[in-house]
């Protein structure tokens, strides 16, 4: 999802009787639904996997500002502009909450930033697609934030306290994101012929990338099995993807838009929608750096970081000058 490629320890979770007493006590706390807090003992693998996951999640929030930021200056009305600005501002906040949660595990913010800027850290594949027309602001809110919510709601119950609490805050804020997106989609779909065509075009482009957000099927993955035993992952990817399709298909129908999938239909037996898988080859290309906008996104983050350097240094220099002056007075 926002963390689509979290590698856990790479081995099957140990059974309780194979664990040493510390590991066992830890696992039993998790099984009882207790939260793990920063100062508690934890297995190294738990710490590492969480840092990676929260880092990917945080980077996704930050890079995720770019496709929408692209339209702030060109929003069709002042109201839409204020709304979009508020949404992008929220995403910056989400990045902050998550970076802070990761910092409680001893990972420094600068380290995480370096990993993002160098391209070593991953972020969600979805943000490597371009936003080409105004309806994309609708589709992003409706589909991308919609998919994010699907994943983030269960994470409010994740075993790591600071992560879970960050998720509670984030989920409270996401609902506005999805609704403002759907509101744009309504305006466009029920507007002129041209507007409706823009909405359809946007759905066509964002549908499969949104399905990819949940990550490839992982019911066989050892990484996921360990993460689920640790409750830092709550659902299988396919489970959430199916839920997303079930919830979104009727919404598209309401808008009078066609989801670009000939195989999409209600299955009376399973009481779910049947649907086509996205092109996973494309997903692996995008996640490994070869999507339509990967280079542009990283360049934008690097430029922002480099352009801000003189300012960050100036602030620190000023602060140390002030504290010297204070000490001299004392």
């Amino acid at each position: 999802m926002y963390a689509q490629q979290v590698e856990s320890t790479g081995s099957q979770p140990k059974s309780l009787n194979k664990m040493n007493p510390k590991e066992r006590a830890f696992q039993e706390r998790i099984d009882r639904g207790e939260r793990i807090e920063p100062k508690d003992w934890m297995p190294e693998g738990y710490r590492k996997t969480l840092v990676r996951q929260m880092g990917q999640h945080a980077h996704s929030e930050i890079v995720g500002q770019l496709p929408e930021g692209n339209w702030i200056g060109r929003a069709p009305t002042l109201e839409r502009k204020a709304i979009l600005l508020a949404k992008v501002q929220d995403e910056a906040g989400h990045g902050l909450y998550l970076y802070s949660a990761a910092e409680t595990l001893g990972k420094s913010r600068d380290d995480m930033t370096k990993e993002l800027l160098s391209g070593r850290a991953k972020y969600s594949s979805i943000f490597n697609y371009p936003t080409l027309n105004w309806a994309d602001m609708g589709a992003v809110g409706w589909l991308v934030d919609g998919a994010a919510i699907m994943n983030q709601v269960p994470l409010q119950r994740t075993s790591y306290g600071p992560y879970a609490r960050a998720m509670v805050r984030i989920c409270k804020e996401e609902s506005f994101h999805q609704r403002q997106g759907f509101d744009i989609m309504m305006k466009m779909s029920f507007g002129s012929k041209e507007q409706k065509a823009m909405a359809q075009d946007s759905l066509n482009r964002f549908w499969y990338p949104s399905l990819m957000m949940f990550g490839p099927s992982d019911s066989e993955s050892v990484h996921s099995a360990q993460s689920m035993a640790w409750k830092i992952k709550i659902n299988f990817n396919d489970e959430l993807r199916q839920k997303f399709v079930n919830q979104t298909a009727p919404q598209a129908k309401y808008l009078g838009l066609k989801i670009p999938d000939e195989n999409l239909k209600w299955n009376k037996k399973t009481e779910q929608y049947d649907f086509s898988e996205p092109d996973w080859k494309e997903f692996f290309e995008v996640i490994s750096g070869n999507g339509p906008c990967n280079i542009e996104r990283l360049a934008a983050r690097n430029k922002a970081w480099d352009d801000g350097e003189w300012f960050r240094e100036g602030l620190m220099a000023n602060a140390s000058k002030q504290s010297k002056a204070m000490n001299a007075k004392d």
Partner: protein
């Protein structure tokens, strides 16, 4: 009285999963004493799973006289709330 011992703010995590909450303050000569006193004063009935003590003078508080300029700007931004958007009832799960 010669030197007054410093003031500390006390935060307690009452339940698994919740954040630390401010419960009050106390005087103590150093951090360790502050921690012990916090335990004695604020968790006598098993109210705590974890305690933070913070020197009061390290807390930067917003000033009540600036309440307007601090918080008014967000008041006009009603579009930050989901209820600002009219989505018909027939559209589910949004």
């Amino acid at each position: 009285m010669s030197i007054e011992s410093p003031l500390w703010e006390v935060f307690i995590r009452g339940q698994h999963g919740t954040a630390h909450r401010h419960v009050g303050s106390l005087h103590a000569s150093d951090a360790e004493t502050a921690m012990n006193n916090a335990r004695d004063v604020y968790t006598r009935r098993n109210e705590g799973l974890s305690i933070w003590v913070v020197p009061s003078n390290q807390i930067i508080a917003s000033s009540p006289s600036q309440k307007g300029s601090m918080f008014d700007p967000s008041q006009g931004k009603i579009y930050r709330h989901p209820s600002f958007y009219d989505i018909p009832k027939v559209v589910k799960k949004i």
